[in-house]
Each structure stands twice: as structure tokens, then as C-alpha cells.
């Protein structure tokens, strides 16, 4: 029983992190239609911002919550600036070109950012300072670390807030309009460029949030932390269905579930990738547009 509860909490934690990264990936993916291979590097950049800011702030401030809030907001801002700059310099000139050119340009940006981080921060693995206090909470007879519960709560709040923002606000409506038909949205008086910039900003902020949670959960990371995050969030977004927030969440939790369950059920823990990809391929063979996706015939 204890193990089941603990593993369930682990599953929720990993699933929330995957879900958040998948949403942050599919913000740009859904609205611009770009498979942003630089997203993993943006995640890495945000983690390094968080790391440097929080280690520096701990010299002056005692309260962990204050450090968390300040470093999260400053890092979000800095990452957003970088994301918007990337969009201006590397993606906007290619907006009318073929989709593949855009994808390859994002691959280039990804390599560029990752190795800039490596050159400035070094290849040594870093340890994220514990931003959420280390306490235990008794739940169903099991002591669960507070940070795990916080991760789940923060992720769920972020997802609900984002859904409401997309559904109810004017900006959200214009985002959905641009996602549906960019030209028609422009004709209706929506500033497409502005909306796309906002999509990149949201993506960067969510990536920073996911980075802070990832750092809290696993603490040790290096310059290539974004590589796997990139692919896993891509996979989660596609399994769930492109451009659907609920789909990205579902995809994230499915991947989290596979990662937790596979080592328990299978003899060798390293088979989990094989299982994850097998599930992925089967899902896409049966339902080629992802679980909650709309029909799409776009070619990249």
C-alpha cells in the first residue's frame, strides 16, 4: 500500500513536469505550427538563469519562498526576452518559407543556445539549491516530501490558469484565431506578429516554471538537460494531439506513467524507453492525429 501511494505521488510529480513541458512546447507548436527544436535549449537556459539567480539570492535572503518567487519571475522575464529575440531574428524571416526550413533553423538555434550555455557556464553538472523547504507531509500513512506535493499543486494551478487564459481572455481568443487561420485572423484585425510573440513568451514562461519544478525534483542538471526534455515534450504533445492543451497534459501524464510503471513491471529498467516508444508508435498507428488532436494534413 505504502509503495503504491508513493509511486502514485511519483507518477503525479513526473507527469506534471512532463505535462508542463509539453504545454510549453505546444504553445508555439499549436499557434505557429513550428516544431521548435530550440525549445529544449530554452528550457536549459531558463534552468541556468534560475540556478544562478537563486544561488546568488540565497546570500542575501533567508526565506526560500521569496527566493523562489523572485528568481522565477526574473528568470521568466529573461527567458522570454531570449525567446522573443529568437523569434524575431531566426523565425520571422522564414515565416513564408517552407515549414522544414523553419524547423532546421530552430535546430540551429537549439545548437547555438546549448553551446552558448556550455561556454558560459561550463560542462560541470550543477546542483539547483533547494527552493522549496524540505519537510514531510503525512498522507494515507505515508510521509511524502512537501516539494513533491508543491510540484503537483503548482503544475495543476498553472495548467488551469493557462486554460482559462486561452478560453476567456481577448488575447487567448486571438491566439486561437491565429492558430486556426493566420491569414483570416490578420484580416479580422488581429496583430499576428504580436500574438505570435506572446505565444513565444508564454512558452518561455511555462518552460521556466517547468524548469523550476524539474530543478526541485531532480536538483542535478547539466548543459544538455534540455535535449531529452525537448524530445519528451515533443512526443507528449504529439501523442496528445497537436495544439490541444488537454492533449499535451494527457500526453505528459501518459509518458510519466510509462516512466514510472515500466521499471516496476519489467525486469530491466532501461527498457522503459522501448516501451514508451512502442506505446507511442501504436497510438499513432491507430489514431494518426494523436489522442485528442484534430485532423491535420500539414506537411513539415
Amino acid at each position: 500500500m505504502n509503495i503504491i501511494v508513493q509511486q502514485f505521488v511519483n507518477f503525479l510529480q513526473l507527469g506534471s513536469i512532463y505535462a508542463l513541458t509539453a504545454i510549453s512546447f505546444s504553445m508555439v507548436y499549436g499557434i505557429v505550427g513550428l516544431v521548435n527544436f530550440a525549445h529544449g535549449s530554452i528550457f536549459t537556459v531558463s534552468m541556468y538563469f534560475l540556478y544562478f539567480l537563486s544561488t546568488w539570492l540565497f546570500n542575501y535572503i533567508e526565506s526560500t519562498w521569496l527566493v523562489y518567487v523572485i528568481s522565477l519571475s526574473v528568470a521568466s522575464f529573461a527567458t522570454s526576452v531570449i525567446a522573443v529575440l529568437i523569434e524575431r531574428l531566426a523565425y520571422r524571416p522564414l515565416r513564408s518559407a517552407k515549414a522544414v526550413a523553419l524547423v532546421v533553423s530552430s535546430v540551429g538555434v537549439g545548437i547555438l543556445l546549448e553551446y552558448l550555455v556550455l561556454n558560459f557556464a561550463g560542462s560541470k553538472a550543477k546542483r539547483m539549491p533547494r527552493i522549496i523547504p524540505n519537510q514531510g507531509v503525512a498522507l494515507l500513512g505515508v510521509t511524502i516530501p512537501l516539494y513533491k506535493i508543491m510540484i503537483i499543486v503548482i503544475a495543476i494551478i498553472a495548467m488551469i490558469a493557462l486554460t482559462q487564459l486561452i478560453k476567456r481572455t481577448r488575447l487567448g481568443t486571438s491566439m486561437r484565431a491565429v492558430a486556426q487561420d493566420r491569414v483570416a485572423a490578420g484580416l479580422m484585425g488581429i496583430s499576428t506578429n504580436r500574438v505570435i510573440s506572446y505565444a513565444f513568451i508564454f512558452g518561455a514562461v511555462l518552460a521556466t516554471l517547468a524548469g523550476s519544478l524539474y530543478g526541485t525534483a531532480y536538483s542535478i542538471f547539466a548543459y544538455n538537460v534540455g535535449d531529452t526534455i525537448n524530445w519528451w515534450s515533443f512526443i507528449a504533445a504529439v501523442v496528445g494531439g497537436i495544439g490541444s492543451i488537454a492533449g499535451a497534459v494527457l500526453g505528459g501524464f501518459i509518458l510519466g506513467g510509462i516512466s514510472i510503471l515500466a521499471p516496476i513491471l519489467l525486469p530491466v529498467s532501461s527498457y522503459k524507453d522501448i516501451v514508451a516508444f512502442a506505446v507511442l508508435i501504436i497510438v499513432l498507428m491507430i489514431k494518426p492525429t494523436g489522442l485528442l488532436g484534430k485532423r491535420s494534413s500539414e506537411k513539415i
Partner: protein
């Protein structure tokens, strides 16, 4: 016709002479010789990727997996079956054919899925193959296979590359190659004129995998080892970069891409890790100014003639630069 044949023979002779000079007279240092061999091997790989990603126009990420299968199959065959040096071509063939079989398997999802979804499926195949090798104890699991006989030399690399260029050149100008280009432009219209789309895609994936497998086989017999970590995300990205920098749908482009990228990452060692920053920047710049790559959809002959025509008659051939 006759003139063309003479020209081909001349090209082969010049190539052989250059190789002999480079290898036997030691005109280049050992490390540069190695880089030359990398360039040749990656050219073969990129030719393979280009058949699916360029000529067929499917964004596939399976090439690292194909390369892994080719490398492991060839390494196993030289260890247990073809133990002497003169049997090396058989080992290459085994590598290519093993990879081809996997290619046939990967072609199946391409009948139904498209775009991003297909990209993910091919990525999944590639990483699954990596995971399988990572867990298979008889090929050394994550340590990989060591002490593979070093049979590859520069003659083999460029000999195979020459043959493969001939094969691909004939293939893309044949009925089957034209089918691929037609599918790239419009799959529905191609189906309507009675082209067997499934057959065409299967052939494309098979040939692509075959080339990648041979590249893998050459690579592991050059380095003397092979390990699952050489066929991961970074190698997928590497392959993509070379295809799209050089130019999609072009044999010249494949070789130019391999040449350029290998020169950047292998010879700019002085720059340390900054060379990757340079490489990433270059990739963005090439895409912004030449979205199809340097030799996108054209061979060297056409490109040079186009350039020449533009230089002599300024207003002519404007459409080459603007694309639309």
C-alpha cells in the same frame, strides 16, 4: 554519348590518382586523412537521408537507427563470419541489407501517417533501436562492441561513395525516382495517375536505409568500435543538419553538406566548443537566405550554369534566387 563516357573515366582516374597521392605519398596528415574518411562516410549517409527527406519529402528521423543496425550487423559479421580482410565487401553488404530490412519496417507507418506524426514515429523507431542495442548483452550492451577489425581505408570509403553516387543518380532519374518527386509535390495527384505510392515509399525507405547501413558499417570498421551512444539524438540532429545545409533533393548537396559540416566540426578544433555555436549560427543563416540549402533541388552542373548565366545576363534567371 561517347564523350560523356570518356569524361566519366577521366573523373574516376583523377579520383583514384588523388586518393593514391593522398594515402600513399602522405600528402595529408593522419588526422586530416581521418577527416577525409569521415567526409566520405557521412556523404554516403547524407545521400541516404536525402532520398527520404529530400526526394520523397518526408521529414524522417530514422537515420541514426539505420546506421546503428548497419554498424552492428557488419561488426558481428566480420567477427564471426567474414573474418578475413578480403571478405569486407560482404560485411558491408550484410550491414546494408540488415538496415534495409529495418527500412522496410519503418516504411509501413509512412503509408498512413504524415508530417509531424510520422516524424515522431521515425524518431521512435530510431531511439528504440538504440535502446535495444543498449540492452542486448551479446553486443556489449551500453559498452558497445570493441576490437572490431579495422578494415576501412580511404579507398573503400571513396570507392563505395562513388558507386553509391552512381546508384542514387540512376535511381532518382529513373521511373522510381520520379515517382518520389511526384509524391513530394502532390501525393493525391500522383495516386490518381496510377503510381503505386506504397511501393514507391517502400523503395525509398529501403534504399535510404541501405545507404545509411553501409555508412554505419564503414564507420565502425574505421573507428574499431561501436556503441549505442553514437546513435542517439545528437547523431539524428547531425544528419539533419548536413542534409539541409547542403541542399535537399540533390546529390551535390548531400556531399556539400557532409563536407561543410565535417569541416566545421572536425577542423575548427581550435575553437573548442565554440565551433558548435558557429555551426548553429551558420545553420540559421543558411536557412534564412537559402531555405532549400546550398544546392536545393539542383545539381552542381545546373547551379554553375545558372550562376554563369546570371553573371553574363544580369536580368535572366532571377527566378533561381527568389524561388517563388
Amino acid at each position: 554519348m561517347k564523350k560523356k563516357e570518356w569524361r566519366n573515366i577521366l573523373v574516376v582516374l583523377v579520383l583514384v590518382a588523388a586518393l593514391v597521392l593522398v594515402k600513399e605519398l602522405k600528402l595529408v596528415s593522419t588526422s586530416n586523412l581521418l577527416i577525409l574518411q569521415y567526409i566520405g562516410i557521412y556523404s554516403i549517409l547524407v545521400l541516404g537521408i536525402n532520398i527520404v527527406n529530400g526526394y520523397l519529402g518526408i521529414f524522417s528521423l530514422a537515420h541514426a537507427g539505420f546506421m546503428a543496425v548497419g554498424a552492428y550487423a557488419a561488426a558481428l559479421s566480420t567477427r564471426y563470419l567474414f573474418t578475413s580482410q578480403w571478405m569486407f565487401p560482404l560485411a558491408l553488404l550484410v550491414g546494408g541489407l540488415a538496415s534495409l530490412c529495418v527500412g522496410l519496417l519503418v516504411a509501413i507507418p509512412s503509408f498512413k501517417s504524415k508530417g509531424d506524426y510520422l516524424a515522431i514515429i521515425t524518431l521512435g523507431f530510431s531511439l528504440m533501436i538504440q535502446s535495444i542495442f543498449m540492452n542486448a548483452e551479446f553486443v556489449g550492451a551500453s559498452r558497445g562492441m570493441n576490437n572490431i577489425a579495422i578494415y576501412t581505408n580511404i579507398y573503400w570509403v571513396y570507392g563505395v561513395l562513388f558507386v553509391m553516387i552512381q546508384v542514387v543518380m540512376r535511381f532518382v532519374n529513373s521511373k522510381y525516382g520520379r515517382n518520389l518527386k511526384a509524391i513530394r509535390e502532390d501525393q493525391v495527384a500522383t495516386e490518381l495517375v496510377s503510381v503505386n505510392v506504397r511501393q514507391a515509399k517502400t523503395i525509398a525507405f529501403a534504399l535510404s536505409a541501405f545507404l545509411a547501413g553501409i555508412a554505419g558499417a564503414l564507420m565502425c570498421h574505421l573507428l574499431g568500435y561501436t556503441s549505442p551512444s553514437s546513435y542517439g539524438y545528437n547523431n539524428i540532429i547531425d544528419g539533419l543538419v548536413m542534409v539541409y545545409i547542403g541542399g535537399v533533393g540533390s546529390i551535390t548537396g548531400s556531399i556539400a553538406g557532409a563536407l561543410l559540416w565535417q569541416i566545421i566540426i572536425q577542423t575548427l578544433k581550435d575553437l573548442g566548443t565554440w565551433r558548435w555555436v558557429v555551426g548553429g549560427l551558420l545553420l540559421c543563416v543558411v536557412m534564412i537566405f537559402m531555405p532549400n540549402g546550398i544546392f536545393g533541388y539542383q545539381e552542381i552542373g545546373t547551379a554553375v550554369r545558372g550562376l554563369f548565366a546570371r553573371l553574363t545576363k544580369k536580368h535572366a534567371k532571377e527566378d533561381v534566387t527568389h524561388g517563388e
